[in-house]
């Protein structure tokens, strides 16, 4: 039979609660797992921990993928980007120019990742998994990916090719966020679900090199 830890035996319920809160505070003080160097973005992702799923709404043509990319730039663990864009391939030089370490970020093409790449979700080889606009991704797939992420301490980014709304929620995602390039000088972020919902703006120069010709 399991015994009660010695420090809890004589303590009152209130003391136990206080003790539990202290433990929680210690957990909260842990270093954030995702780091971009952009304060606004880092604040937004400070609560994300291994096992979490982040859902992104990024329609094509609005350059929004540059935002999740910022979180894959600094000392990343082994990561995999699963993509499937009709006729499009990875333009590696652009990724390198944005500071992504392609020795640690691998790519794989799949339209139905959970069905086609099941072993990838059953092992913890990759600590960050980015599922970019899968053609087939059911609610069951979502539950499976989320469960595996928790089990193996992985962070999963699920990128949708449409803007997310609160009307269609996702109980498995701890953060849901829309991103797009607004105009020539900034990126917009709209947090749909997370500790602080609302709209945020990041200057273009913080994300990519400023190009005078473009602006």
């Amino acid at each position: 039979m399991a015994s009660i830890p010695a420090k809890f035996i004589d303590a009152s319920l209130q003391q136990q609660l206080q003790s539990a809160r202290t433990l929680n505070c210690q957990q909260l003080r842990q270093e954030p797992v995702l780091h971009s160097g952009i304060d606004v973005l880092d604040d937004c992702f400070s609560q994300i921990k291994p096992g979490d799923v982040v859902e992104w709404g990024i329609p094509p043509g609005f350059n929004g993928r540059l935002i999740p990319l910022q979180l894959l730039k600094h000392d990343i663990p082994l990561s995999i980007w699963i993509y499937h864009h009709r006729g499009l391939g990875v333009f590696a030089s652009s990724w390198i120019s944005h500071g992504v370490d392609l020795q640690r970020l691998f790519f794989i093409c799949s339209e139905n990742p959970v069905r086609e790449l099941r072993p990838l979700f059953l092992e913890d080889t990759f600590k960050h998994i980015i599922i970019d606009a899968p053609r087939k991704f059911s609610a069951g797939d979502m539950a499976f990916v989320s469960q595996q992420a928790r089990k193996q301490g992985q962070i999963v980014f699920l990128i949708r090719h449409f803007f997310l709304t609160q009307k269609r929620g996702n109980p498995h995602a701890s953060l849901r966020i829309n991103t797009w390039q607004s105009g020539k000088s900034s990126f917009s972020l709209q947090v749909i679900k997370g500790p602080n919902t609302g709209k945020l703006t990041i200057p273009y120069a913080a994300v990519a090199e400023d190009h005078a010709s473009y602006h």
């Binding site: 499009l88 590696a92 090199e209 473009y214």
Partner: protein, 500 residues
């Protein structure tokens, strides 16, 4: 155990400092970044060792000489090199010592004939160890090999051509051509074959026959094509094989999986549990309900150890599952017009190990753990379980987008180290995904365009330098979606990427 923990860091630091030291020494015999991975190796050893030390594709040239086709395991060896952070020579040397002892001689080159020629020269000079023919030093020596070397190596070749039953080869006629060739060079006074490098294979063929022309071409080719070289593959003895005759016809994967797992376990019992033993290819011969036999292949991107994967055999089971799905899809398509209740079931099968390679345990052991924390072994093992390969990229010096990077194997080193800043920084305004096949588009005057750059790559190679000019723009459609487009010198527009 505590003793091991104490001694381990010392061993690693000694090992790594030795590596660092050896990396600092300029070794003219070592391969450089721009050299291709050698496709073949000829190994000479007095000691009988496993011929499958470096590859499952092997030819026995003579009692003491084996030829191995390294190309089949190219990615695997490159990954080992990356994992151990050392030169290719340092990867192969312990493996060859493990199999053949210290007194081996191995010559790596792009063609088996070149391996044999240089091996013979090194044997005459009591050479030991590893020689890469592509390296500067060995290439210089190779170019100075004399005619005696060149002709004497052909003696053994003749016996192989006869055994191979090479089309159009007759020994007497070949010997006659040889004598003719010898008289010719005597008259000319040419000292070495490479002093006559201006003579191409066609002119040698015209004067001295087809086979002399081929040998001439093998001696100097940079290609790994065998080009009718008499390659007689060494059979790998008995192939472990298990058969299963089913009590009832089955076509559901859930049942097949369980039975296959049992069969893999039986297969393991058929050959001695040896950590060296790795499998490249297995054959799965399925007998359908109509007694049609279909053979499919379970092939592994990286050598796979069946014994290490016991008792689940996940990797083999995944590969079998992909093949099963593919086969069932094809059978359903074939029988869609027939009035059959379900897909044709299986009534029997046979699983046979076709290709094996002997890899010494040192490649997997504790001290071979990666120092940069990237466990390539784990990545390779995972890749073996997937139907498609991972994509890995390196930067390349080129301004044309399609020439600015290249796909590489996992863990491969860049061909030639260079400062990639100017190349990579020019790509920061370009999209993350691009069309490998550009699409011609119409650009209406109302669309917003933002000029990015004028680009011209290797204009000095084209006849019309203007043809290589491209003007790149960001093009926005009426819904505000941005594409990456360019206009060529004719004023035609092409879409090359999307700002996803």
């Amino acid at each position: 155990m505590p003793r091991l923990q104490k001694t381990m860091p010392v061993t690693i630091s000694r090992e790594s400092s030795a590596r660092e030291l050896s990396n600092k020494i300029i070794d003219l015999g070592e391969l450089r970044g721009e050299h291709d991975f050698p496709a073949y190796v000829a190994i000479h050893s007095e000691q009988a060792g496993s011929p499958y030390a470096l590859s499952p594709t092997v030819m026995r040239w003579s009692e003491n000489i084996h030829l191995c086709k390294l190309d089949d395991c190219r990615q695997f060896w490159l990954n080992q090199k990356k994992k151990l952070r050392c030169k290719l020579q340092q990867v192969f040397d312990p493996v060859l010592i493990h199999h053949y002892g210290d007194a081996y001689l191995a010559v790596f080159a792009s063609h088996p004939w070149q391996c044999l020629l240089y091996l013979q020269y090194q044997l005459q000079h009591q050479g030991r160890g590893i020689f890469f023919l592509q390296s500067r030093l060995n290439q210089n020596i190779y170019r100075r090999l004399d005619w005696d070397n060149w002709f004497s190596a052909q003696d053994k070749l003749v016996s192989h051509l006869l055994a191979f039953n090479a089309k159009g080869f007759r020994e007497d006629s070949f010997r006659g051509r040889q004598s003719q060739f010898k008289r010719f060079i005597q008259r000319l006074g040419v000292a070495t074959p490479f002093a006559m490098k201006q003579a191409d294979a066609n002119s040698i063929t015209r004067r001295f026959g087809v086979w002399m022309g081929r040998i001439w071409s093998w001696s100097s080719t940079g290609s790994s094509e065998l080009a009718l070289f008499p390659w007689i593959e060494l059979e790998q003895g008995s192939h472990p094989c298990v058969t299963r005759d089913l009590e009832y016809p089955v076509n559901s994967w859930a049942f097949i999986e369980v039975l296959l797992r049992e069969d893999f376990s039986r297969l393991c019992d058929l050959f001695y549990r040896d950590d060296c033993e790795h499998i490249n290819r297995m054959q799965w011969q399925i007998t359908l309900f109509n007694y049609q036999k279909i053979s499919v292949e379970l092939s592994f991107r990286h050598p796979y150890s069946l014994h290490r994967d016991m008792p689940e055999f996940d990797t083999a089971i995944y590969q079998a599952r992909y093949i099963y799905d593919d086969l069932i899809g094809k059978l359903q398509a074939r029988e869609s017009d027939l009035d059959l209740p379900e897909t044709m079931p299986f009534i029997a099968w046979k699983v046979e190990v076709c290709e094996r390679i002997q890899l010494p345990p040192m490649l997997w052991e504790l001290f071979a753990r990666p120092q940069d924390q990237i466990d390539y072994q784990q990545i390779m093992s995972l890749q073996n379980k997937l139907p498609v390969a991972f994509e890995c990229y390196h930067c390349d010096p080129g301004f044309y987008p399609e020439q600015s990077f290249q796909t590489v194997s996992i863990g491969a080193d860049p061909c030639q180290p260079f400062d990639d800043y100017q190349w990579s920084s020019s790509s920061s305004s370009k999209p993350l995904f691009y069309y490998a096949d550009v699409q011609a588009i119409d650009v209406s005057s109302g669309m917003q365009k933002f000029f990015l750059e004028r680009n011209s790559n290797q204009w000095w190679l084209s006849e019309d330098a203007l043809q290589s000019i491209r003007d790149y723009f960001i093009l926005k459609d009426f819904q505000g979606r941005a594409s990456w487009v360019y206009r060529d010198s004719n004023g035609d527009w092409f879409k090359q990427g999307e700002y996803c």
